[in-house]
Point group: C2
Chain length 770, copies 2
């Protein structure tokens, strides 16, 4: 596969503009700060063929809701969808050279370059344009979405006439006449709403300042989209409103070879964050402060933020430029995508596109959380706080699902309500509860942050554990069974005793009991408060222990593998040999029931349990399970390859580990799933990091103990990453024949290396081991 | 429970008009002829409270289609719904007495009676009305929907002024401004279309003659609704059109004590039956012919048709008037509901309401077919011809479901395409294929009609049998398994090896192989033609035999019962003790997944197999299965009680047999499911007949051999029914201590009575046995 961009280590860059790749490029060049997301579309707009662009601007967690209409209703099906809105396009800057409109697809473009540097966080474009009538101008733009202020973005747009002097017009716009993509046959894309969702409340239009005030109809949020512009040379100025479009117009008597620079500071403020009455004033203050600081100050602030980020998070790979670029690209986009205010999370596509409607899934806890936990633990905590904010909704959902006690988290949501409109691959995935508990356990083990446990974690873990004793029951042999659920593999649905679910539920039940026992003994007052809050019955922890102890974990004695569910092996193996390549992903080419009927997996299921519950399996188990399930897995889900890479590493399939890793690391850059134009795959992006740390470096955390067992892919000279652990920062560098552990921050840290205990301290920070 | 109407043996009758029961009465007093269905609404209209009436007129098989929109799409989900349309109301006759409009809810009503006699097929109403201003008049109406001509209905509406002479106006209308019910939370009722579905093409409005020409938007059918009226006394006449409403107006200078009689002949003709260009002329001809014959001639014709029907079909019960009324009511409605033109079938609610949208289900083959087979075999054949007409659609559906060969019948449909919008309780019910094959087998065994087999049956049975080898596979123990299907019980979905499905598939596969073997040996030319038509591979019959032989039929050795599916017994038993009465039916109060997770059945599943495949079980088997499944069955489906009644009879639970029978026999008359206002339950109606013949009389047909083992419920003095068999008509009369078999028609008939062979002949037609 040819790579989309040159293999630069720290950026993506293109030197020709191509309508065929434009839709994809818009995603890859997207900017975000965990709140605002601006697709990498052109400031001046794009007039290419239909279906080659989506000019989207998004705000993480800002949604419209709509009733879900089922052709055949049933009790307690999710009633309301929430979808991330395409908000007004405030990026617009257009340009006329003596009446000729600048358009990348008209005239002639030379010396074109577009570049997104992961160290600067600035999207830059430069070119020389010759108009159809022969006017030449140098044009460049810079754009950033501020990491320092989640409401702010800024654009610098500059033009220099090269062969003329005359009237140049620069127009800065906010365009509210936008709408979301409509749903088609692909269940992974689009909302049911057609037409604009934001209704005009009013507009402020002053010299240099524009603000559009809007409201969503159903979710009832108010939004202010605002911009403040300035131009570097003498000009005449005007402003205009055309329906939902606000324009600031600058007419410049331009001189040949003198640059005209328009700077635009933009902001979005919504009533999800502040009182409605404050939004307009906050917008103005933010923009004025930004203008006072100036564009260059924002650029510097952005670079400083990223320098700090990379100092912690950079994964260095020597020996494969494609991977090096891929993994940095992925981590950069993760940072751009993740909500960090405790009210928002990270959606399946970040803030880069409308795939999966901006919903949050288990992807966060199982795929993305470890990256932030070990690299930006303060963001990891915010992700967990988000789940606490959703606890009331999860309790309510549990009641709807006839659970007398406990909380059931939604399979997909923005604000906390269940939004999955197809329950067999939605609500049925009860493992979401255990996934969240697992992330809390991981967080506690890595940070020891008891304040989180007392304030939020204990309540979540206990409330969610109760669902297992609610849904499960003891079978005739006295084993605890969990029926009628769907595991991670969405090509098998509504099964009994999904291995992953049962094993994770067992972990969850034991964890909940441990918390109750620990708090009862160590923090009796806090325990009394929490127990009262959840109306904990005194015998519940014992019930949890008992269910965990008697949990049925399907195992096939003949094949000596863990069976994905009670009936998985009695299904017919999918006829892979006679399935043409174009029939993948299967979900777009076969009725769900046809897929469910067969042994065929969309993604890691048992194999994921091998990673998450690593110490419960022998290496032989892992090898047999890997062998069996690899043969029946299509990896039609982007969540699959990274997990297979990790387990392949562990069982010694180094070539496979490398191939699966490669697929994950460049999944979006090379668009291997063919749908990156709808947004990046944040879970796979984070899976790349896991592929290095968990995969090649063999990192596992078992009951708080960190273990490494590094291997070095033959293609690499070395690799290096860092992890935050117990307040320390540890650098791990693996090269031929040796691993160097270096304590970059903190007093003392202990872990194991290939089973041997290692300790690094501030006074003796480096250990080099074979 | 108080009975709705007095317990007349041959009619339903009411003597007071009640808005509270009106919605239900409209269903019970509905008239139909298997094509036209007119709800029992008042000619003059009804102004009672909202939700107490639905003025529906339906044509069996006449439908509009609409796209099915899923909130989350998937491949090969049913794309288009078809729903039986509410067609123009052509029944309207309204009346003004010197300007005062006749209204049952105004003024005063005396001497009221409404009556539907099952021997006349005429709905009669009579009353004396005193207007608010004191005008008294005797009013009576008669209405019939002709059994002799499926396009025709007629109304006689008469008024006699009792205390005044003066201006009386009688107005006859056709009102096209009607629409279907909209869908709400109950998945069993309503369509997604709101507003009128029939668009006006034109109207004929002549003195005495009105015709409305309309077209459906999506299905593209043309419909002509027409009426011809006459009035018996001197009058002035006018006609008017108001949008979709046509009126014939009669102004009569009325004399006290002189009856004014309006006679209205109405018809519906659609392009589903004839060329569009013929519809108007056919309407006119039919109405003119009816007028020429006169209303009394239609009444006589109707009575003659019914006399013939009852001579064959009457079931006499001495000792329980409620049951006697119930079973005759049911049989009368079955006759009114069943399509008999080979293009239409019998819908779940007949033509009496919009529940289940006029769709045809397996109800036809498994519940309703036996009644017609043994009472009106010519109609039974038409029902089977309907399935042949649907074979091309079933082939196409099989391709969509990734079956390379064969045909898969839709779970619900009107014209042949799959219309089920919730596949776990729709398309997943693959047993529909075996159900159809079963009815063909039953038909062949009862009639020996080889012409049907050659022309239609063999092709259907072989094409549908192929689906089993397509969907099934051999498991590791070499047993043939059928995974991921739903059996009859809709409270358990998407299971492996549903007992009913597997056992019926086994029967089906063997039947298909037998047909192939029989035809190959006996009818080589016909066989060659059919084999070529279905591209039969020479080894397919042997494959069918092998799959049938190795079919997995779940059996639990501990409980010694047939397990409903592979995992049924490992589910938790529903907590019936703590389920309040108002939480039934469960489907309206619990998420499907909650229901699926438990051992709880909506209806007979294994227990139905005990009936259909009777000879495959010992009596002990049947008793244990009955005991086990009765304890976990809610009978939330109206298809359940009749089957439990039959098996209860067989295993000697006579009290239970009687109770279940009672529930079935008066299910609609007593509205025990609380939804008869949306239409009668045709399957339960036919289940009543099975309850007598299969239940109390112990009738079974095993490989063509008819067996009886009669019992007499203690509450009865005797019962009697008749069956058509091999061209003979046999009367079975069971009374205390004896059974009398009487050959009413035919030469010779052999069967068994409690295991002993009996033969009746034309010369010795009666056998009385203990």
């Amino acid at each position: 596969m040819p790579h989309t961009y040159p293999l630069d280590a720290w950026c993506i860059r293109e030197t020709s503009f191509d309508t065929a790749s434009n839709f994809l490029d818009e995603t890859l060049f997207a900017l975000g700060n965990g709140y605002i997301g601006l697709r990498g579309t052109l400031e001046e707009g794009y007039g290419g063929p239909a279906g080659t662009s989506l000019d989207g601007s998004y705000l993480n967690g800002f949604y419209e809701s709509e009733p879900i209409t089922y052709p055949e209703a049933a009790f307690a099906l999710a009633k309301t969808n929430q979808f991330m809105l395409n908000v007004p396009n405030a990026k617009g800057v257009s340009l006329w050279l003596e009446g000729e409109r600048f358009d990348m697809l008209a005239g002639q473009v030379e010396n074109y370059e577009r570049k997104l540097d992961f160290r600067t966080g600035v999207l830059e474009r430069s070119l020389v344009w010759t108009s159809p009538q022969g006017r030449r101008a140098a044009i460049r733009s810079r754009r950033l979405v501020s990491f320092a202020n989640k409401h702010l973005f800024a654009i610098e747009f500059a033009v220099t006439p090269l062969n003329f002097s005359g009237k140049v017009e620069v127009l800065s716009s906010i365009d509210g006449a936008v709408k979301n993509q409509e749903a088609g046959d692909d269940p992974r894309v689009g909302s049911a709403v057609s037409g604009p969702a934001l209704h005009l409340l009013g507009a402020d239009l002053e010299p240099h300042y524009s603000a559009l005030l809007q409201r969503t109809l159903n979710s009832g949020f108010m939004l202010v989209s605002a911009a403040l512009t300035e131009v570097s040379v003498p000009h005449e100025q005007g402003a205009a409103q055309d329906g939902l479009r606000l324009e600031q117009i600058y007419m410049v008597p331009a001189q040949q070879d003198v640059e005209i620079r328009l700077t635009k500071f933009g902001s979005y403020y919504s009533s999800r964050d502040y009182a409605e009455s404050e939004l307009a004033a906050r917008s103005r203050q933010t923009l004025q402060a930004a203008q006072a600081a100036g564009f260059e100050a924002l650029v510097a602030e952005q670079a400083a933020y990223l320098a700090d980020f990379w100092a912690q998070a950079d994964v260095e790979i020597a020996g494969d430029d494609a991977l090096q670029q891929g993994i940095r690209f992925n981590q950069f986009h993760l940072l751009q995508s993740v909500g960090r205010d405790g009210r928002t999370n990270i959606s399946a596509k970040g803030v880069t596109g409308e795939g999966y409607e901006g919903h949050y899934f288990w992807d966060t806890e199982i795929y993305i959380f470890p990256f932030f936990l070990y690299n930006k633990p303060e963001i990891a905590r915010k992700l967990l706080e988000y789940r606490y904010a959703g606890l009331p909704f999860a309790r309510e959902r549990a009641r709807q699902m006839s659970h007398a006690k406990g909380a059931l988290y939604p399979w997909r949501t923005i604000a906390g309500e269940e939004c999955s409109a197809y329950f067999p691959a939605g609500t049925a995935q009860y493992h979401i509860n255990a996934d969240i508990a697992y992330s809390i356990k991981l967080y506690m083990e890595a940070t020891g942050d008891e304040s989180y446990l007392l304030q939020y974690g204990a309540e979540i873990v206990m409330e969610t554990a109760r669902i297992w004793t609610g849904i499960g029951s003891y079978n005739r042999e006295g084993r605890f069974v969990i029926n009628e659920v769907t595991g991670p593999d969405e090509y098998t649905a509504l099964v009994n005793n999904n291995y992953y679910t049962n094993a994770m539920a067992q972990m969850h039940l034991n964890f909940a009991a441990s918390i109750a026992e620990h708090l009862a003994a160590q923090q009796p007052e806090a325990f009394a408060r929490i127990a009262a809050a959840v109306q904990l019955n005194a015998n519940e922890p014992a019930e949890w222990r008992r269910a965990a102890q008697l949990m049925l974990l399907p195992y096939d004695e003949t094949l000596k593998i863990h069976e994905q569910d009670d009936s998985f092996l009695s299904r017919k193996v999918w006829d892979f040999a006679n399935t043409p390549k174009e029939n993948y992903p299967l979900l777009l080419n076969y009725h769900p029931m046809v897929i469910y009927r067969h042994q065929v997996c969309k993604q890691a299921d048992v194999v994921l349990a091998l990673l998450l519950l690593s110490d419960q399996f022998t290496l032989e188990d892992k090898k047999r399970d890997f062998d069996y399930y690899e043969a029946v897995t299509t990896h039609d889900s982007s969540l699959s390859s990274c997990i297979f890479s990790i387990i392949a590493s562990e069982v010694g399939y180094h070539d496979k580990a490398y191939e699966y890793f490669m697929e994950t690391a460049r999944l979006d850059l090379d668009d291997t799933h063919g749908n990156t134009h709808y947004g990046v795959h944040t879970a796979a992006m984070a899976g790349t990091w896991m592929g290095v740390a968990y995969g090649f470096a063999g990192m596992r955390v078992v009951e708080g103990e960190v273990r490494f067992a590094p291997t070095l892919p033959a293609q690499w000279q070395h690799y290096q990453f860092r992890i935050h652990l117990h307040g320390c920062l540890l650098q791990v560098r693996v090269s031929a024949g040796k691993t160097e552990y270096k304590l970059l921050h903190g007093d003392v840290l202990a872990f194991t290396h290939r089973g041997d205990r290692v300790e690094v301290t501030a006074s003796s920070p480096v250990k080099e081991l074979p």
